[in-house]
Amino acid sequence: MVFVVLRRLGVFATTVVVASVVTFLMLSILPGNAARIALGVQATEADVAAQATAMGLDRPAIVRYLDWFGHVLIGDFGTSTVSRQPIGPEITDALGITVILVLTSVVLALLFAIPFGILTAVRQRKPDGVILSGISQIGVAVPGFLAGMLLVTVFAVTLRWLPAGGWIDPAEDFTGFLEHLILPAIALGSVQGAVLSRYVRSSVLEVMREDFIRTARAKGLGAGRALFWHGLRNAAVPVMTVLGLQIATLLVGAVVIERVFSIPGLGSLLLDKVALRDLPAVQGIVLVLVVFVLLLNFLVDLAFTLIDPRLRSAA
């Protein structure tokens, strides 16, 4: 077990390093002159050149990479070329917001998907099951941001029940925070829930065909109990994979919803920083996102080894 974890950790570390290189290379070919953007339309070319040197944009790539990643390792993402503030806090703030948003939506999604998915699986041949799974199918097909727009129109603009967007730090004003969280979380969660429920359904169906369920029935457990006691834990494994992937993709995927509700999340920050060609910031954000995803997969793997004894022994 320890070996497994250690090995995974090692692999994780190496992947992170490689990912950082990829990130750096990708962004080092970004067009658009950061110096020019900083100075604006009235600045002369000479000013721009000077500014570039000042920003250290003229050093060789390898030097810049080592300098950058070296600092990142000690938790220093450098200072933004635009806001001239340390990037770290900016990222953590935005990340915090996005993570809250994503997790809430995922929780909502699960609350909906698990019962719904199981129901549609168990009643797969019954008309109601078919109808319900049809509904979830449609849910999957609706773009999240469309759901967002509609929610805003109805609940914020027309009914004026909830704010149309923006974000309030929970520390400042918790109820306000909740008010601002609800709509985007629902917009994000509804679609994810639909997607998840599909996976729950299929993996429950898968499990219901397993022999050990038949064994459980033969022991005298009713179909329901057999599924509940023996099926769900087994069904959870594939669903968890999907969940991990979903959360991962949502970190960026939420950007669309963040835009609809003008929430200063990580995705939005990324878009802004890209627009401003705030290279250090963009690199930082991308790296954080990537590492976060890798971390998630890593955790999911570990979770498997906890759920599934077979993986514990087999390295």
């Binding site: 990912a19 990829v22 990708m26 449609i138 097909a141 609706v142 941001f145 727009m149 590492v291 997969n297």
Partner: protein
Amino acid sequence: MTAIKSATPTRRPAGHGGGATLWAGLVLIGLVLVAAVVSAFWTPFDPEGVFSDSILLPPGAEHLLGTDSFGRDVFSSILRGAQISLLVGTVAVGIAAVLGVPFGIVAGMNPGRLDQFMMRGNDISLAFPALLLAIIFGAIFGAGTVTAMVALGIGTAPAFALIARSGTMQIMSREYVQAARASGKGGLFIGLRHVLPNISGMLIVQASVSFGIAVLAEAALSYLGLGTPPPTPSWGRMLQDAQGYLFIEPLLIVWPGIAIAVAVLGFNLLGDGLRDRFDPKMQVKR
């Protein structure tokens, strides 16, 4: 002991409903396809021109679904928009398959070091979601249909690689592969002649599902302004434009919404149908 397994009667694939879903999917996709093809030759009005005299007309006899802020016939735009969606889907899935499948097969056929190594690589590319790539590529090469397609393609490739790999590993354990090797067939032959045909089922399923995702993603990208540039009609951008007219002409948001839903639903249903259709033994099982 596999012997005993196959000796006992194999369970029939899940659900006869498969057929129904399959057909429903095909019909919906058919609709989109027809729209795309027809619009290539004929649309009621030019979906790219500007008609200052017919701005924001409500649905009516002349303009079935009304007109937008440029006086364009929405119906025409919807028809033409199908092209972009299909184009993006096809190219993205194509790229994903071309990159992912051989990668996955090679990894699956060479268990051990190489496989491990390749899968790590795959993990890393998995860590760059399509949307992230789209944003970065958009900044590098400038936003546009091509950029979006490529980004989506590369972003989806790892999924294909994973499926292809797990499928390949199943096939490689089959005895007919042993037989082929025993009669001196090389890796390439086995890969092309035995593995690929036998995992094609799951690949097609994956493709059809990815297609739906790609259509959605294209919409999202267009909404962020990273997608198809105007005047070429794209459902996603139609949504974004319509957002500004939510109070003047709410219907403008409905049509492209429906269009997208139909396309995505179509491909998802197709995917599910096919999954039920194909031999259950071919399903990925941890």
